[in-house]
């Protein structure tokens, strides 16, 4: 029986960068008890001798020739930006002030 506490969910929400209300944290922790029980069934057959599959195609690295191709102009690339300044994305402060 797996379960997640309200605090576990709060930690995951912080890692996933999603602010959550108290109501959301509590109800998600209840839901996860049920969901984790259901998905934990994979452990019944996942024995050590089974190789994992991450992808349906047996691909390794896929390369293309190192040639410059047409791409978006600066104004196109910035066309959806929430804020811009001097032909660049303007973003909120990233480093804290000391």
């Amino acid at each position: 029986m797996s379960s997640l506490s309200r605090d576990d969910v709060a930690n995951l929400a912080r890692l996933a960068r999603i602010q959550m209300s108290e109501e959301e944290l509590v109800s998600l922790s209840h839901e996860f008890t049920v969901i984790l029980d259901a998905v934990a069934r994979v452990q019944e057959v996942a024995s050590a001798d089974v190789e994992p599959t991450s992808h349906p195609l047996p691909l390794r690295n896929v390369f293309r020739p190192d040639v410059v191709l047409p791409s978006l102009s600066t104004s196109e690339a910035l066309s959806g930006a929430p804020a811009q300044e001097e032909s660049r994305f303007r973003v909120p402060q990233i480093l804290g002030e000391e």
């Binding site: 996933a16 602010q19 934990a40 195609l57 978006l72 929430p82 402060q93 990233i94």
Partner: protein
């Protein structure tokens, strides 16, 4: 005219009986009339569609050689980017975004002169089986407006069933093309993984996502399949091999001597009686058409759902990290002294819906240190076992079949507070995505107990997509003879405006 198949419309266009502008206009009129009730569309590109139609008409008038579907209108799932046309993936976080580029699917549609009417509704980021998770409100099933049209591509399937478009594009991560097709009495195909480029498809679960054709009959789906499929250097998982000849297969429908494997585990308990009745009847018709029906077993399919609900959330928790409020989309909480982290936290709180948050958190947990092996790692092993089940079964048969879904369309709201009950809809469609093979759903009739459409699923080995079209065409032909008219002729008339 709007009730014709895409092939019939293409024929009328080629014969000069109608122009693409006129054909596009009748569909735009139909959308205006019925979409208030159905809500299949999030955006109708009236000007763009008419301009594209006029361009096709001009090419035809100039005697240019055109592709088979040139001038026929189509509805595009809102998960595909289309340059300068609003693209939301059903989410508030992308409200108002106009992508600066076309997806490869759109590039291919344009190259085939297929007219794009607009963008269709979907569960947010394609997470759902009912279209109720759209941030813009649910789509209603044209068979019964109180019921769901399937999901995530419920807008595309409803647009077909409501005669708002003869063709549509869907994407299928765990059944999002096939389940909506099943519950609306339409045809939906998930091609082999890698057959259709994912460039410009807003990613949910990259190792499972695959775009494909939606239509009202098997031949129309095949024509659209060949129009959108093919190698694309901009998608590193695109298959560099010739596209299977699915149009020829759909025209032939010859199943004599083919072995059709009925999956023992995808039938019986939990499947509605009317679904089973229609499924058995379809098997009899295929046997009469000359196919040999055999039983195959896939013992690990019962773990597919559990594995899917670890793999897809894990991949989505990574893919959706791109919605960080920095380069495009919604930004909340910006201002003097606000940090990037608090802006991200507030934007993602406001921009993502409940199901998306649920899956991101689940995926973050499944990938976290200490739990990775037990959850994501184990799910990857189940993926291997499912693929092996398919490989073994395909040694005994050419295609595998099952009902597409356990039930017919349920009521809007019926399962929205029970994630596990909702997830069970996809029990028969998920194995196909796990193995990266092809799957088709086509109408098998109406369930006697509720008069709602039932879907018949056909699964074929990777890069043998033509086999689904052979069997689909054979079954469609046999059912048409039995019914005397296509299933959609029985759909109740929408009152409209």
């Amino acid at each position: 005219m709007i009730r014709d198949s895409a092939s019939q419309m293409a024929k009328a266009l080629a014969a000069g009986d109608i122009t693409s502008v006129a054909l596009t206009q009748v569909h735009l009129d139909r959308i205006t009339s019925v979409d208030t009730d159905v809500h299949a569309f999030l955006f109708v590109d009236t000007q763009g569609a008419l301009a594209q139609a006029a361009a096709v008409d001009a090419k035809r008038a100039a005697g240019e050689k055109l592709s088979p579907l040139a001038g026929v209108p189509l509805a595009l799932k809102d998960v595909m980017t289309q340059k300068n046309v609003p693209t939301t993936a059903g989410s508030k976080i992308l409200e108002g975004w106009r992508p600066p580029y076309d997806s490869t699917v759109v590039t291919n549609l344009r190259a085939n002169d297929i007219v794009i009417l607009g963008k269709t509704n979907m569960d947010e980021f394609a997470m759902g089986s009912s279209t109720e998770n759209s941030a813009y409100g649910p789509t209603h099933n044209p068979w019964d407006l109180t019921r769901i049209p399937g999901g995530s591509g419920g807008g595309s399937s409803a647009a077909l069933a409501a005669f708002e478009a003869p063709l549509a594009i869907g994407t299928d991560t765990g059944g999002s093309i096939r389940q909506p097709a099943a519950v609306t009495g339409t045809v939906g195909v998930k091609p082999t993984y890698g057959a259709v480029s994912r460039f410009g498809l807003i990613a949910f679960s990259s190792s499972l996502d695959q775009a494909g054709p939606c239509a009202r009959n098997v031949l129309d789906a095949a024509l659209l399949h060949e129009a959108i499929a093919g190698y694309d250097a901009r998608d590193s998982t695109s298959i560099n091999a010739p596209v299977p000849q699915v149009v020829n297969a759909a025209k032939s429908g010859d199943v004599k001597g083919m072995k059709i494997g009925v999956v023992k585990e995808l039938n019986g308990d939990g499947y509605q009686s009317g679904v089973r009745i229609r499924f058995e009847e379809s098997l009899e018709l295929l046997a009469k058409a000359g196919a040999e029906i055999v039983e195959v077993s896939a013992p690990n399919f019962e773990y597919a759902l559990a594995a899917y609900y670890l793999i897809a959330p894990s991949e989505c928790s990574s893919n959706l990290a791109r919605f960080d409020a920095m380069r495009y989309g919604l930004r909340v909480g910006d201002g003097e002294g606000a940090s990037a982290e608090s802006v991200m936290n507030l934007t993602r709180k406001a921009g993502f819906g409940r199901e998306v948050k649920r899956r991101i958190i689940l995926g973050t947990y499944a990938l976290s240190s200490g739990y990775y092996d037990a959850y994501y790692g184990s799910a990857q092993k189940v993926r291997t076992l499912i693929t092996q089940d398919f490989d073994k079964a395909f040694q005994k048969c050419d295609v595998m079949v099952s009902p597409t879904c356990p039930t017919t369309a349920f009521k809007i709201g019926e399962k929205s507070n029970d994630p596990i009950a909702m997830y069970l809809n996809d029990i028969a469609t998920i194995p196909v995505n796990m193995a990266g093979i092809g799957g088709m759903s086509l109408p098998a009739g109406l369930a006697p107990e509720d008069g709602l459409p039932v879907g018949f699923q056909i699964m074929a080995p990777a890069m043998a997509d033509q086999r689904m079209y052979l069997v689909g065409a054979a079954l469609e032909e046999a059912l048409l003879t039995k019914w005397g008219a296509p299933l959609l002729s029985k759909i109740p008339e929408l009152r409209g405006k």
